[in-house]
């Protein structure tokens, strides 16, 4: 097992290297002069040249590309993500608050997602072919075919504009202090993004859980369990579900890591100051240092998520020999 993990980690090294090289290349071909963005445009012409050269050396842009790459990687892994021109402060500080907002949002989404998909997926598999199953099949097919912004706009139209139950978007104000009303307003502002993201996540996951459960239910040991005279409840929850959990564990791991993913479109539509919205804003304002850092962050996250999912799979499923 340990050997497998080490082998897996070693195989990650070239992947990480290639990704960083790719992002570094992207950073280099991006339009705009990073030195000029750092300088005060009010400088006089004769001072400007000197300041420009000084800044070039300070940023290390006078060195060759490989040297620049090494420097960039070094800084990045020490947590120095560069300077955000849009927010006019270090990228690290600029994304702290949005990252928090995104995580708060995603906690609710993931809890809702798992709380709905697991029971529904199991019930669909057990009752497959019935009206209940068909309803969820159609539901997931339709929501799977909907662009996220369309779901978001429809929800705004119905819940925020027609019924006036919820605010159409934005962030809660913090002026009133941290009392009950404050947390309530958080919930109110989060409600629409949460519903949207939950609906989007439901479509794929329900199908996945259902198929995993159907696979488990068609195994021979289920027939054995039934012929032993076990009650249907024991058969389903004790025999089938525990086996279905093996593939399902992948989506649970994925869900946990997706905590940090910002939903670019949904957050933009609801003007939720999350990490996805910051990315879109950064791109519109050509704040490339921010964008590249965030892409690197997302890429590393998905590599680690894949790695953890693989390892867990091996741990959970005794049939798999990880060698």
């Amino acid at each position: 097992m340990l050997r497998y993990i080490i082998k897996r980690i070693l195989s990650l090294i070239p992947v990480v290297f290639l990704i960083t090289v790719m992002l570094f290349t992207l950073l280099k071909i991006m339009p705009g002069d990073p030195v000029r963005m750092m300088l005060n445009p009010g400088l006089k012409a004769e001072h400007y040249k000197a300041a420009y050269d000084a800044m070039t050396i300070k940023l290390g842009l006078d060195k060759s590309y490989p040297e620049q790459y090494v420097r960039w990687i070094g800084n990045t892994f020490q947590g120095e993500l560069g300077w955000s021109t849009l927010h006019n402060r270090p990228v690290k500080d600029a994304i702290k608050e949005p990252l928090k907002n995104t995580i708060i949002l995603n906690i609710f989404v993931i809890i809702l997602e798992l709380a709905i998909t697991l029971p529904v997926g199991i019930k669909c598999a057990v009752k497959r072919g019935t009206r209940y199953d068909n309803f969820w099949q159609v539901f997931s097919l339709i929501t799977y075919s909907m662009p996220s912004f369309f779901i978001a706009l429809s929800l705004i139209f119905i819940l925020a504009i027609r019924l006036r139950w919820l605010p159409p978007g934005g962030m809660p104000l913090t002026i009133h202090g941290r009392n009950f009303a404050y947390y309530l307003s958080w919930l109110k502002y989060m409600a629409l993004p949460i519903i949207t993201l939950t609906i989007i996540s439901l479509a794929g996951t329900i199908r996945y859980v259902r198929n995993a459960m159907i696979d488990a239910l068609t195994q021979d040991y289920i027939r054995t369990a039934r012929s032993k005279g076990l009650s249907e409840k024991v058969v389903i929850y004790s025999h089938a579900f525990r086996n279905a959990l093996i593939p399902v564990s992948t989506i649970i791991i994925g869900a946990i890591f997706s905590l940090f993913y910002g939903a670019a479109i949904t957050e933009t539509v609801f003007a939720w100051n999350g990490i996805g919205h910051v990315l879109v804003k950064g791109l519109s304002n050509r704040d490339f240092m921010l964008v590249i850092s965030m892409n690197l962050f997302f890429a590393m996250l998905s590599i680690i998520a894949n790695f953890v999912a693989d390892i867990t799979y091996g741990l959970v499923d005794p049939r798999i020999k990880l060698e």
Binding site: S148, F157, P168, N306
Partner: protein, 628 residues
């Protein structure tokens, strides 16, 4: 290796004898059957035929296929039938809700006899000889307390009063009764549909010659030659009428930002913002030509002098200044927003100018029957024939409404569909080609090739799709001319989308390549290349097709999302996503629902059809799936 029995001549003869012996016995008891070859007896069909048969049994799949064909026909045949003019916009027509009834005048109006008709952006108001007011067409604005009232809701007092004049502004209506009382309804954001108090006192004491409604403003011309203008006049200062003109005005031609005034000495003056409209020819100002009538389009004026000569000045667009040959004398004239209309003595109508809404396609009835009166305002035209019937032509309406620049959404959705469907298709083709290459080489050669290619696949898979697609699009769009941005989107979606498919293909090949037929092919000495192409590829083809279909739906959604955020297809080229780009404000969501709902539904409909087809194909190609 097994020995091939069929090759042995002795054995073959023996089996032949045995067979005929058995068939002889069989014939003794059972009715003779025609001899069939093994293939016929089993009725084996080609895999494609099986898939087709299975697919046809799948009702939802058929539904999806029909839906998708409809969408394809709508977009591709539609864009051939309804060409788009990307540069065209008409801000006057902005944000009008769906409606196709602009020219559907009520028959009651014709029955009672038409006195006058005047049109706004999307509606017309008519006055019958009996003094009844009729309004038809589409509500041009959203209704909000104090901001606007429905143009269809004619006020009770108007219904009671004996109306002698009506006129339509762009989004409001004015009516005058025989006692000199003025009524207004419709858009009132600049109080253009209200009577100001100082006008009221004038109305009480003086006779009104004409009431005029125009874009966001209204005007009253009194019989004594005084003009009063109110409404949105801050920018164009139309409310300031030169002192030397006041009291001498006999006719007014109103445009969005200008007015042409005909004075009692036959000369012409203009007011409003400085532009070509105001460059009145010398002979019309010094009195050498005596003008009797005038009409004005958006930025051009047409004037008729007492000799029957036409004078025109202003903007030359749409050839609006070039009047065609006129066979007889001009009886009356009128002007739409971008068109000029002349009614001749012999009852003929001459019409020229822009053709954005098929205005120039005149109905044949118009020329067959002599015309008594023409009413041209905005984009709708009506001709009253001498026998009392009415012919209408011009802008029939907008099936899906208009956007914030007054562009027809129906046309934009047709062409947007063509772009979105094409971008999706080509990006999938690109990614499948890459995936096939990676998956097949990796799966077939294995070893270090496999390892290398799969690590590379891991890299592409690890980069988060939407952020990197947005980043790439933002980076490349600075370096690529606007025209080629569409191709760029296709390539970006293509080169980011292949890893999933490549892994799938690789896994399938690993499965196939262990099978006996590959072993047999190898033993026969078939070349590696041929084994891949002729033996393995056909076996993974089903899988690839299903994958392409499902990926296509995803690709449609991704393009829509990218364009929605402004990183996809760049306007003015429409795509389903970028039509929605300006629909993010809650004002649009609330008041202009057609601008996001209709294009959104098209995306959903297209993606849903493709997904249905994909699901059905998957089940059709995997017979085991049916048992589940």
């Amino acid at each position: 290796m097994e020995t091939k029995t069929g090759q042995d001549p002795v054995l073959k003869r023996q089996t032949g004898i045995l067979q005929s012996f058995f068939s002889m016995i069989k014939r003794l008891f059972v009715k003779d059957k025609p001899q069939l070859s093994a293939l016929e007896e089993e009725a084996i069909q080609t895999p494609a035929k099986t898939v087709m048969k299975n697919f046809l049994r799948h009702k939802l799949g058929i539904l999806g296929l029909v839906g998708f064909i409809c969408i394809l026909a709508f977009s591709f045949v539609g864009s051939y039938l309804k060409p788009i003019n990307l540069g065209h916009m008409e801000t006057t027509l902005r944000n009008i809700r769906p409606g196709y009834n602009y020219l559907k005048y009520p028959s009651q109006l014709v029955k009672e006899g038409v006195k006058t008709i005047s049109s706004g952006v999307s509606f017309s108001v008519g006055l019958s000889q009996a003094g009844n007011v009729y309004v038809w067409g589409t509500q041009p604005v959203y209704l909000l307390e104090g901001f606007s009232t429905s143009i269809h809701k004619i006020p009770e007092e108007v219904k009671q009063a004996n109306i002698v004049q009506v006129t339509a502004g762009d989004r409001h209506i004015l009516a005058l009764d025989d006692r000199g009382k003025l009524y207004g309804w419709g858009l009132n954001n600049f109080q253009q549909a209200e009577v100001p108090t100082n006008l009221q006192s004038k109305l009480n004491s003086k006779q009104v010659a004409e009431i005029i409604g125009s874009e966001l403003y209204s005007a009253v011309l009194f019989a004594d030659g005084e003009l009063y203008v109110w409404g949105s006049t801050m920018a164009n200062r139309l409310d300031i009428i030169p002192a030397e003109c006041q009291g001498h005005i006999v006719k007014v031609a109103a445009s969005s930002n200008n007015m042409a005034l005909l004075l009692d000495d036959g000369t012409v003056r203009t007011t409003g913002i400085e532009n070509v409209f105001r460059r009145v020819p010398e002979e019309l100002q010094d009195g050498s030509a005596k003008i009797v009538d005038l009409a004005s389009s958006y930025r051009a004026v047409l004037a008729l002098d007492d000799q029957g000569e036409l004078h025109a000045w202003g903007d030359t667009e749409f050839g609006i200044l070039n009047a065609p040959e006129i066979p007889s004398k001009v009886k009356a004239m009128a002007a739409g927003k971008n068109n000029m209309t002349l009614l001749l003595d012999n009852g003929q109508v001459v019409y020229w100018g822009a053709d954005h809404y098929n205005q120039l396609r005149l109905p044949p009835r118009l020329q067959q029957k002599p015309v008594a009166k023409v009413f041209s305002t905005m984009f709708q035209n009506y001709a009253l024939h001498e026998d009392g019937t009415l012919t209408a032509w011009g802008n029939k309406g907008f099936l899906f409404g208009t956007d914030e620049q007054g562009r027809d959404l129906f046309t934009r959705i047709i062409h947007g569909g063509r772009i979105s469907l094409t971008v999706g298709a080509i990006s999938v083709v690109i990614s499948v080609i890459i995936a096939l290459f990676f998956g097949m080489t990796s799966g077939f050669f294995g070893g270090w090739v496999d390892n290398l290619l799969m690590r590379f696949t891991d890299v592409v898979m690890a980069v988060p799709f939407l952020p990197i697609a947005i980043t790439l699009s933002a980076v490349v769009s600075g370096k690529v001319p606007e025209m080629y941005r569409i191709y760029m989107i296709m390539v970006i979606l293509g080169i980011l989308g292949w890893p999933g498919t490549a892994r799938l293909i690789r896994a399938q090949i690993l499965l196939e390549r262990e099978k006996d037929f590959v072993l047999a092919a190898r033993a026969l000495g078939v070349k590696y290349y041929n084994i891949i192409i002729r033996h393995i590829l056909p076996n993974i083809f089903n899988l690839v097709i299903v994958n392409i279909t499902l990926r296509y739906a995803g690709s449609l959604l991704t393009e829509a999302g990218l364009s929605f955020l402004g990183f996809g297809v760049a306007p003015p080229t429409p795509s389903w996503g970028n039509i929605l780009q300006n629909a993010q404000s809650s004002a649009v969501i609330e008041y202009y629902w057609w601008r996001w709902l209709i294009p959104g539904l098209f995306v959903v409909f297209a993606a849903l059809s493709v997904n249905l087809v994909g699901d059905a194909l998957r089940e059709a190609m995997d017979p085991r799936a049916n048992q589940k």
